[in-house]
């Protein structure tokens, strides 16, 4: 598998694009591991939490439009999807792989890479450049662009752009603000979570898978305790439900190494019904 810098080098040595014959690529910069802080001090943690390896970044100018391409090599395809899931709100664009265009930024994931193409001039005028560069980069990356299997285990109909794939507490800081991530995203746990249209507030459904049954039970009990809910079930089982301090109803249960959790429901019946939809 290529590295990010190797990928960029190949791209730059390739013949000029059919789309922009007058294009000129700028100097390539590479930041590895913790050096990501030198590139993006604010926000680097999220990338590192998804196993960031290196980024190759360079600027493009074509017909007066400017864009910066950043190719992020992540820990693996799942991690690349994970970081993409945090920036997936926007208009879908087909560049050979599913991409999202929003606010002057095109983003997608393929193989172990996450790619951002950001307009550095008028985003409306630069749209064609963003898409052309996206196609060029996507075509050069080996591998597939698909979501981890766990994503399909959540109910359909999530609020657009709300689905997140989480692999450790640092990836969940903008999802669970009260520290629930620290309790349930234990070592080797993986979570998918999404919001669904509810009444006054959205309903959140989450599915967290653990390497063994005991870890799921332990997380279930810890979460129930934090939410001030009594747990039910004997040895090797855990479930809890009730109204939380935010005046919403929640329901959670651990079974076969998986913790399922629904919160934000207007009543207990609804919370339980949503929980049953989480596979």
């Amino acid at each position: 598998m290529r590295t990010a810098i190797a990928l960029v080098s190949v791209l730059l040595m390739a013949p000029a694009s059919d789309y922009f014959p007058e294009e000129s690529a700028g100097k390539i910069e590479v930041f590895k591991g913790q050096k990501l802080f030198d590139y993006m001090n604010g926000g680097a943690e999220l990338y590192l939490a998804y196993g960031f390896v290196e980024i190759a970044v360079w600027n493009y100018t074509a017909a007066g439009n400017k864009a910066t391409v950043g190719i992020y090599e992540m820990g693996g395809p799942e991690e690349a999807y994970g970081i993409f899931s945090h920036t997936s709100r926007g208009d879908p664009v087909d560049i050979g792989v599913p991409a999202v265009l929003a606010r002057g930024m095109l983003s997608f994931h393929k193989g172990k890479f996450y790619v951002r193409v950001v307009a550095k001039s008028d985003p409306v005028k630069a749209k064609d450049l963003l898409i052309a560069l996206g196609k060029q980069v996507a075509g050069s990356i080996p591998g597939e662009s698909k979501a981890p299997g766990e994503v399909a285990l959540l109910p359909e109909g999530a609020v657009e752009g709300s689905l997140r794939y989480l692999v450790n507490p640092a990836t969940a800081r903008t999802i669970w603000f009260d520290g629930e991530g620290e309790l349930i995203l234990t070592k080797q746990a993986k979570a998918v979570t999404a919001f669904y249209p509810g009444g006054d507030a959205d309903i959140q459904a989450s599915r967290i898978s653990y390497p063994d049954k005991a870890a799921a039970i332990k997380a279930c009990r810890a979460l129930a305790k934090k939410l001030s809910l009594k747990t039910a079930g004997g040895k090797g089982e855990c479930s809890a439900s009730g109204k939380t301090e935010d005046d919403v109803f929640t329901s959670l249960a651990a079974k076969d190494g998986v913790l399922r959790w629904v919160t934000g429901a207007a009543d207990q019946k609804s919370a339980n019904a949503w929980l049953a939809k989480v596979k």
């Binding site: 913790q34 680097a44 929003a102 606010r103 002057g104 985003p123 752009g161 903008t174």
Partner: protein, 310 residues
């Protein structure tokens, strides 16, 4: 800090003056009792930012309550990213210009606009629009200092995680410190405003993210870097993909100001849904921790809050 920072008594007195001025201006008498948080909102805010800043400062006693003749004034904006003003990742240049001019009108000897950016300073300087906004203003200086020679090792006596750090020397010698953050989402801290923005006045930001608990380190730093006044840019809130963006922008046409940095940040959190949902200030760990540490309150009493339309 052996500097002019310990001017809290002066600030207490100005709060009383502000109450008197506010009463004189016809504002509600109860609201005029030492307000700690003022909010001005409305379509008129972006149309005339200078007027909006004056309006938001009026219940606090106006700029004269904070800046006196001959004083050196620091304006601390968020200039962390090389993004144009329309992306709202950085503080409004027009707001900075307005505040700088108000400080000069109060006969400040010098106005320093300083921030240690997260990206290359030359790139930030080129695109954020502040250089152009303050061009031609005498005694107003805009720097994005990154050289370690410009920073001084400083103890954080009340720090739990952060015991010492290198703080920008200029910050240690100013008479008046005015924080001017912009309200944004932040993928590590949840939200960034005035408290987190203090990281722009130190040299080693990375250790906050990698070595320390970020939330504790932010609070520790704020035990020594205490702005006299916070003026928050809430004209458009970057509700997703912060701090760098480009993120989803929610128009709020609001400027917040206050002497309680925790209260101002907390009010900013509630301006707009972050990440697509309503977040409560207590859910932002460093704000909750800041209140617990005694740096301010998340929700001041209603009679200490003034809300204005424009």
């Amino acid at each position: 800090m052996g500097n002019k920072y310990g001017r809290r008594e002066f600030m207490k007195k100005t709060a009383l003056v502000s109450a008197a001025l506010a009463v004189g201006s016809g504002l509600d008498v109860r609201a005029a009792q030492k307000p700690v948080l003022v909010k001005v909102s409305g379509a008129g805010v972006p149309k005339d930012i200078t007027a909006a800043v004056k309006k938001v400062l009026e219940p606090l006693g106006g700029m004269r309550a904070f800046v006196k003749k001959g004083q050196k004034v620091l304006l601390k904006p968020n200039v962390g990213f090389p993004t144009p003003p329309e992306q709202h990742a950085t503080t409004s240049p027009l707001m900075l210009k307005a505040v700088a001019q108000m400080a000069l009108d109060c006969e400040a000897s010098q106005v320093l606009i300083l921030d240690n950016p997260t990206r290359r300073p030359e790139a930030c300087m080129r695109v954020v629009g502040i250089k152009e906004a303050v061009a031609g203003m005498s005694n107003v200086h805009f720097f994005l200092p990154t050289s370690d020679k410009l920073y001084q090792k400083t103890a954080i006596p009340k720090g739990k995680a952060l015991k010492r750090t290198e703080i920008l020397k200029d910050v240690l010698s100013v008479d008046v410190h005015i924080a001017m953050p912009i309200a944004k989402s932040h993928n590590a801290a949840g939200f960034t405003g005035g408290l987190k923005g203090m990281m722009g006045l130190i040299l080693d930001r990375e250790s906050f993210h990698s070595r320390f608990d970020l939330n504790q380190a932010i609070v520790d730093l704020n035990t020594v870097l205490k702005p006299h006044l916070v003026i928050m840019d809430g004209i458009k809130v970057m509700a997703t993909d912060g701090p760098a963006g480009p993120g989803e922008l929610i128009t709020k046409n609001t400027i917040l100001a206050g002497t309680d940095p925790v209260a101002v940040d907390a009010a900013a959190v509630e301006l707009a849904p972050l990440y697509g949902r309503k977040i409560k200030p207590r859910q932002i760990k460093h704000l909750k921790l800041a209140e617990k540490t005694g740096l301010g309150v998340l929700k001041p009493p209603a009679d200490r809050i003034v809300t204005l339309e424009m």
